[in-house]
């Protein structure tokens, strides 16, 4: 067990770094597709197409670009996480009621002020649930990292497969499942606290 802890931490690290990067890129892309009507289809389609590329193929392509190691798996996770985040940001911003956007405009808010003061705060619950989906997905996809020489819990699982050892597979898989459940639980709690009062009713 003692040599499992560094693997768990590394796994978590990979996922969290990837998540942070994808949140930044995803929300920005979501805002851009909301602002620029002609861009929204292109951005959402691209994110969807990325989502359909098989893990193995995407890793292989990225490996050519980034070589072996954690950077490649992080890049892959970022790409996979984009769709739920971009889409939820876009839908969230779109679904802020027209009358609130009108009110904000009528009060004399600039486009950026409307976004920061009204539209983003109101679509936050949806954006956050997109992030949650992305993080939980990333935890399991990150296991694939072992194929391109990245660290994390993919290693014990891979060894387990090679040695036909169920025990080893479980030693790798169970922490992944537990982390996924724990993160989902924690993020749901945070979500509820944030949504508590200031929601559109």
């Amino acid at each position: 067990m003692s040599n499992l802890m560094p693997l768990i931490l590394e796994h978590l690290m990979i996922v969290l770094i990837a998540a942070s990067i994808s949140v930044v890129i995803g929300v920005v892309l979501g805002i851009l597709s909301y602002w620029m009507n002609y861009l929204d289809k292109a951005i959402l389609w691209t994110a969807e197409i990325i989502q359909t590329i098989p893990n193995l193929a995407l890793l292989a392509i990225l490996m050519i670009l980034f070589g072996l190691g954690n950077v490649t798996i992080i890049a892959a996770l970022v790409l996979y996480a984009l769709l739920p985040i971009v889409r939820n940001t876009y839908i969230g911003l779109k679904s802020v009621p027209i009358y609130l956007k009108d009110a904000a405009r009528g009060m004399g808010m600039s486009k950026l002020q409307r976004l920061m003061k009204v539209e983003l705060p109101l679509s936050f619950p949806l954006i956050f649930s997109g992030i949650k989906i992305a993080v939980v997905n990333s935890l399991s996809i990150a296991v694939m990292g072992v194929l391109i020489g990245a660290g994390g819990l993919g290693y014990p699982i891979y060894r387990g497969i090679q040695t036909n050892s169920m025990e080893r597979i479980l030693i790798g898989a169970i922490p992944v499942v537990l982390m996924a459940l724990l993160l989902d639980y924690l993020m749901t709690k945070v979500e509820k606290r944030l949504v508590h009062k200031g929601s559109v009713n």
Binding site: R105, M107, G108, N201
Partner: protein, 375 residues
């Protein structure tokens, strides 16, 4: 002062505004009214440039609004919308302070404004400032909506059907509050509604629009007395007849004409049967030449009548009669003193025209006051 000069706007083929020209004086409460699709909301939104006109000019205090920065212009004009539109992610205090904050007022300046405004509508600061909109009732929310529009002391406030979604009682109290605030703070208010009651109650000037044009712009009094178009009279229908209550009304307008009549020679049992069938307890007795003779009720037949006697022998003549053209007020007095609770209305040749009962009188008064009622 707001001045429209030949302002037009179309969406594709449909012309929403057709060359509007009019002026709104400083400090006036102006109500834009008309059937839906008449362009009243569009007109309102061109003032703060939420909608850009295709042609024409809108001058605000002499300045062409198209030359002003739209964002700054909107900060200097209050805006209240029908859906209230409080920002649900902000507290009451933050909502009211939206525009002052956009104008970079320091907290020492905007917080006293919030307190003062909340006091103005009787919502104490301590209790309400830190609530979220969802914790308030609809009426309270729209009070905050109005306060938000007033917070940066704009000289002009635009209100787009602000009370349309409220229940009648709340609406009435908010109407009074807004009128009071307007008088106190001397704002120019442009107010859109489709409710003539509201327009008559609030307006200094009513602008009646239809099909993107102004049909009439006048004071409520003037518009009631001299509506410039049949559509306006129709819109004001019930209010105009309320005026005509003062005009001479005659007994004829209050009477019901379906009354039970019988010749004086009719016999007791037959007349009882007739009254029972019609579910009434009295009827009018006529002479042979159809002129009015008297009345007879079930009670009198029971106490005086024997089977086989003619009703003419014991009919009563105490029920007051009025002529068809008798003044409504005199008729009303007779009705009130009538022992039988009704009066008989006679034509000039003394034949019976109808009856006025307390019910028919009340219904006719109701119709006159509130428009034709469902009977």
């Amino acid at each position: 002062m707001i001045k429209f000069e030949n302002v037009s706007k179309s969406y594709g083929e449909s012309k929403v505004l057709k060359g509007l020209s009019f002026q709104i004086k400083q400090g006036d409460f102006v109500v834009l009214i008309g059937p839906s699709g008449c362009g009243k909301t569009t007109t309102l939104k061109t003032i703060n440039r939420l909608i850009q006109p295709d042609s024409g000019k809108i001058l605000i205090d002499g300045k062409d609004s198209a030359q002003l920065n739209p964002v700054e212009l909107r900060r200097s004009i209050g805006y209240v919308i029908q859906q209230i539109g409080l920002f649900p992610n902000m507290t009451v205090e933050e909502n009211i302070a939206v525009v002052p904050k956009l104008l970079n007022y320091p907290k020492e300046k905007w917080q006293p404004i919030v307190k003062e405004l909340l006091t103005l509508v009787g919502m104490p600061y301590e209790e309400n400032a830190h609530k979220y909109p969802s914790e308030l009732s609809g009426g309270q929310q729209q009070r905050i909506g109005v306060l938000r529009a007033l917070a940066a002391s704009p000289p002009i406030v635009l209100m787009d059907e602000p009370f349309g979604a409220l229940d009648p009682i709340t609406r009435e109290s908010l109407q009074e509050e807004v009128r009071r605030i307007q008088k106190k703070l001397k704002k120019t208010i442009v107010f859109v509604t489709h409710d003539m009651d509201e327009a008559l109650k609030m307006a200094d000037v009513i602008v009646f629009m239809s099909g993107g044009k102004i049909l009439q712009m006048a004071s409520p009094e003037e518009m009631l007395q001299h509506p410039a178009d049949p559509l306006i009279s129709e819109f004001m229908g019930k209010h105009r007849s309320a005026l005509s209550v003062n005009a001479a009304m005659s007994a004829a307008e209050f009477m019901k004409t379906r009354v039970l009549k019988a010749a004086r020679s009719m016999q007791t049992l037959q007349s009882i049967e007739l009254m029972r069938n019609r579910d009434v307890n009295s009827m009018i007795v006529l002479n042979d030449d159809d002129t009015y003779a008297g009345t007879v009720s079930l009670d009198t037949i029971k106490s005086h009548g024997k089977a086989g006697r003619a009703i003419g022998e014991f009919m009563e003549t105490t029920v007051p009669t009025v002529n068809l053209k008798e003044d409504a007020r005199d008729t009303f007095e007779k009705l009130y003193t009538s022992p039988a609770g009704y009066v008989v209305v006679l034509n000039d040749d003394m034949t019976v025209a109808g009856l006025i009962t307390k019910t028919s009188m009340a219904k006719a008064m109701g119709d006159a006051l509130w428009g034709e009622m469902i009977s």
